[in-house]
């Protein structure tokens, strides 16, 4: 046991170095670099933007002339259906959209990894059952399920995060399981088992770190999907009406006739915001996937 304990930090150091190397590779990849730059830009806007240009949802217009008004010096991107500033609203929406995307992904990753790891590692009925549950979630049309859940459970931001997280873990579980299936047959696992390590220890200390790179690449892609899912839900009117996200902005723009009225300044900013953030995460995700996934590695 003492030999094992001593080996762990050694392994960790190796993994940190490997992660750093992977990131370096991703950065040197032109596609990956574009992704990182876009992400840095949107995070900076989401974090710094609302501090410099705070959005006050109660700062509504006074007369009918103030609503859905084109860009002016006072309102750089015009006003929304209540006469509020679209530029500031877009910055505030970035925060909510990113927050939902990241938290929903965290839930999805924890659930997906736990299920995938246990399903891949355990040989008995438990693994089979876990996989059937995963298959069940895989074949359910996700969007209708999310719509039904959001409609039944409610519209608070927390519920939406939970709903997106719980409907997007199945593919992660599949990926993790397939990797665990090959890892558990490796010689080093046999060796550790022969030394008397428990299943729990083998799974968490020795197998999990080896699937982490895959999980990481997958996480970045799931974030993009979660942000899109939130925008979709909100656009369909199932979002939290008390928080401004890009999706709720598009919903309001659409229902208040921004398109008929030609109010492009209300539709375009949240639309571009979604495109940039989702594109950033997708580019980074694919680049990391190509570097970290042994089957895709072409070096």
């Amino acid at each position: 046991m003492s030999a094992l304990a001593a080996a762990a930090p050694e392994q960790d150091r190796g993994r940190v170095a490997a992660a750093r190397a992977a990131m370096g590779l991703a950065w040197s990849d032109p596609i990956g670099r574009v992704g990182f730059l876009l992400l840095a830009l949107s995070v900076a806007l989401a974090v710094v933007g609302p501090v410099v240009f705070p959005f006050d949802p109660t700062a509504v217009g006074k007369t009918a002339a103030d609503i859905l008004r084109g860009p002016t010096a006072a309102h750089w991107l015009g006003t929304d259906e209540l006469g509020r500033d679209v530029f500031r609203e877009t910055l505030a929406g970035a925060q909510v959209s990113l927050l939902v995307g990241l938290l929903a992904t965290a839930i999805s990753m924890v659930a997906g990894t736990a299920v995938g790891l246990s399903a891949g590692y355990s040989r008995g009925w438990l693994g089979g059952l876990m996989m059937r549950v995963t298959d069940f979630f895989l074949v359910i049309p996700t969007l209708p399920l999310i719509i039904v859940l959001a409609a039944v459970v409610g519209q608070s931001l927390g519920v939406i995060i939970l709903v997106i997280g719980l409907t997007s873990w199945a593919s992660t579980a599949r990926i993790v399981r397939s990797q665990v299936l090959t890892l558990r047959e490796r010689v080093f696992v046999e060796r550790i088992r022969a030394l008397g390590a428990t299943d729990w220890r083998i799974a968490t200390v020795h197998i999990l770190p080896n699937v982490l790179p895959l999980i990481f690449a997958n996480t970045v892609l799931v974030i993009a999907g979660s942000i899109l899912a939130e925008a979709t839900l909100a656009f369909l009117g199932l979002g939290d009406p008390t928080h401004t996200s890009w999706g709720t902005m598009l919903h309001s723009a659409f229902t208040n006739g921004a398109s008929s009225r030609g109010a492009w300044w209300y539709l375009v900013p949240p639309g571009i915001g979604i495109v940039i953030v989702v594109l950033a995460f997708t580019l980074i995700g694919y680049t990391l996937d190509r570097i970290l996934n042994p089957r895709l590695r072409n070096r």
Binding site: E81, P241, T242, F254, T255, S260, R261
Partner: protein
């Protein structure tokens, strides 16, 4: 809920009064319809000017007699009927459809004056307590059975004896229904009647309905309605699909031109407007205020702004039932008044209606100019957050720890749930502004949006209402103050009464106005009732909106532009009088 209609009650009231006092005959003959159509243009011309300068177009319907054609009429709507049962129908959509399937004894014409329908003539006794109707001969139900006075007696007794549905409020004093022969009906009342219930009560067939128990009737969905009206619902309608009714070739009147009338569901009024522009629809009952001005110049589309008999309001759950799950703090009138004071109704009209409406005060819409009571500005609960804060402070609702939300002395927060219909954009807009306004006086509102039928079920859960506040609207179902004033009656709990308000004194006044035939004396009572209900603040009347409608000029012509709207009004006559445009 049957929601939205303005009133023109001086005219209608006067007509009714004349009819009741002089035992005069109702204007007979179907040919009167044509002249009614001709006069409707003057009706529009004299209508109160609506905001936004969209003066009612002067295209007056010509006195063309329609003839049956193969052409369909296609209409958009944003929510669906709750039932096809004409006696328990709550939504405007259900009333709109069933009024073409079921006839009444009398109805409103295009001039919004009473005209005969199933009754060919009508007389009222000198004391105003008895009404006699001579029925049309040869009228048949859709299933071929003959229509007789027994059907009328059955319907009126069913409503009155069981206090069934929203029409019961007009039959409170009914003492008996006599049927001397198969084509004569006499309604007897214990007091003179200022309003003629024959204008609103649909007649249902005894041979089908009498087989059901009261409980069955209350829950009756009526998927295959059998009426005497000009249209029939031939195929079962399921929610989510377009609803089509077909012309009844055996109808007793002049057959209308549209072979079928189809209502198509849209989730969004803007998309519905696009449907009209692209020619998928012939008329839309509702144009979003934000695109109304822009649509005015569109090709082949005519927009019309008409005064309405409608208002939108926020209802407070004031149910006194022990099983109510509403926040009990809302039973405190000071809190309700304070929330009302926090809200700036002019801001709501400007921002949510783009100015196409009038700020609201009492429950009789301003369009019913002769009955509406204007509350003087210094007595209103409106746009005065400072007063609201003082009232709450004085009543002991304070925020000692500066949390932003006030609490009662025993620590209960002034935090309420607010629900609105997700497809009614103006309501969602208003809800957001009201949330802001309430926050400014330390009252927290939590907004959730639902679809209309879910909101309907939630609000009208009489035994265990699990809600605090809602945003919704009303269309007056009749051109008479008794319709809107009847909503807050104790007896309408389980019927129209959506906030479970109950005030015996108010109920007594309602009974009194219903038997006061002199318009001046009656108005004195209705004014008092409006003020009382206003001060009790169970309704926050936000606005009286203009009815913004639009139709295609290349498919159907002869639309009469009347107060209350071309369609979704309490007269169905536009459906019966339009003619193909070519």
């Amino acid at each position: 809920m049957s929601r939205w209609r303005t009133s023109w009650t001086l005219m209608a009231g006067a007509a009714l009064v004349a009819a009741s006092c002089g035992s005069s005959e109702a204007s007979p003959s179907a040919s009167a319809l044509a002249s009614a159509a001709a006069t409707s243009s003057s009706t529009v011309a004299s209508a109160p000017a609506t905001a936004s300068g969209s003066a009612a177009p002067s295209a007056s319907p010509s006195a063309v007699v329609p003839s049956p054609t193969d052409q369909p009429l296609r209409i958009g709507w944003l929510s669906e009927p709750d039932t096809m049962n004409p006696l328990t129908a709550a939504t405007t959509e259900a009333v709109e459809v069933t009024q073409l399937i079921y006839d009444k004894l009398m109805d409103y014409g295009l001039d919004l004056k009473p005209e005969p329908e199933l009754a060919s003539s009508f007389t009222q006794s000198a004391d105003g307590k008895s009404m006699t109707f001579q029925l049309r001969d040869g009228v048949k139900w859709h299933d071929g059975q003959p229509f007789t006075s027994a059907d009328v007696a059955y319907t009126y007794n069913l409503i009155h004896d069981n206090d069934l549905g929203q029409y019961a409020q007009f039959l409170l004093n009914l003492t008996g229904v006599k049927t001397p022969d198969a084509l004569t009906v006499e309604l007897d009342f214990s007091a003179p009647q200022a309003f003629n219930p024959a204008l609103v009560v649909p007649i249902v067939p005894k041979h089908i309905w009498s087989a059901m128990s009261l409980k069955q009737i209350e829950q009756f969905r009526n998927d295959k309605p059998v009426g005497t009206g000009p249209y029939t619902l031939s195929t079962k309608w399921t929610s989510g699909t377009p609803l089509t009714i077909t012309r009844n070739a055996a109808w007793w009147g002049q057959l209308p031109a549209p072979a079928t009338i189809t209502w198509v569901r849209y989730d969004n009024s803007d998309v519905m407007g696009q449907g009209l522009r692209s020619g998928e629809l012939d008329i839309i009952p509702q144009v979003p205020p934000t695109v109304f001005d822009g649509m005015t110049g569109a090709d082949g589309v005519k927009t019309v702004a008409l005064p309405s008999f409608s208002f939108h309001h926020i209802g407070f759950n004031v149910s006194t039932k022990a099983t109510s799950k509403g926040n009990p703090l809302l039973k405190n009138v000071t809190i309700r008044q304070a929330i009302q004071d926090a809200v700036d109704r002019n801001q709501l009209v400007q921002l949510c209606l783009a100015g196409h409406g009038t700020p609201g005060d009492t429950i009789i819409p301003a369009g019913m100019a002769d009955w509406h009571l204007s509350i003087p500005a210094d007595q209103q609960f409106n746009a005065n957050p400072d007063k609201a804060k003082q009232m709450l402070n004085a009543a002991g609702f304070t925020d000692p720890n500066n949390t932003g939300v006030r609490s009662s002395a025993d620590g209960k927060q002034l935090a309420f749930r607010l629900i609105a219909i997700n497809t009614t954009d103006v309501d969602v807009c208003a809800a957001k502004l009201v949330v802001n306004a309430a926050a400014a006086i330390g009252v927290k509102l939590e907004l959730t949006t639902l679809d209309e039928n879910t909101l309907n079920d939630t609000v009208y859960n009489t035994d265990t209402p699990n809600w605090d506040m809602f945003v919704w609207g009303w269309d007056s179902g009749a051109l008479d103050p008794s319709y809107m004033l009847g909503v807050p009656l104790c007896s309408q709990i389980g019927g129209n009464n959506d906030v479970f308000y109950c005030n015996k004194q108010y109920d007594d006044q309602y009974a009194q106005q219903a038997v006061t035939i002199d318009p001046v004396a009656r108005k004195a009572i209705t004014d008092q009732m409006q003020r009382e209900y206003y001060n009790d603040a169970a309704y926050l009347v936000m606005w009286y909106q203009d009815k913004l409608q639009a139709y295609r000029t290349d498919t159907w012509a002869n639309w009469a532009q009347i107060p209350g709207g071309m369609v979704f009004n309490f007269t169905r006559d536009n459906y019966l009088h339009i003619v193909p445009a070519r």
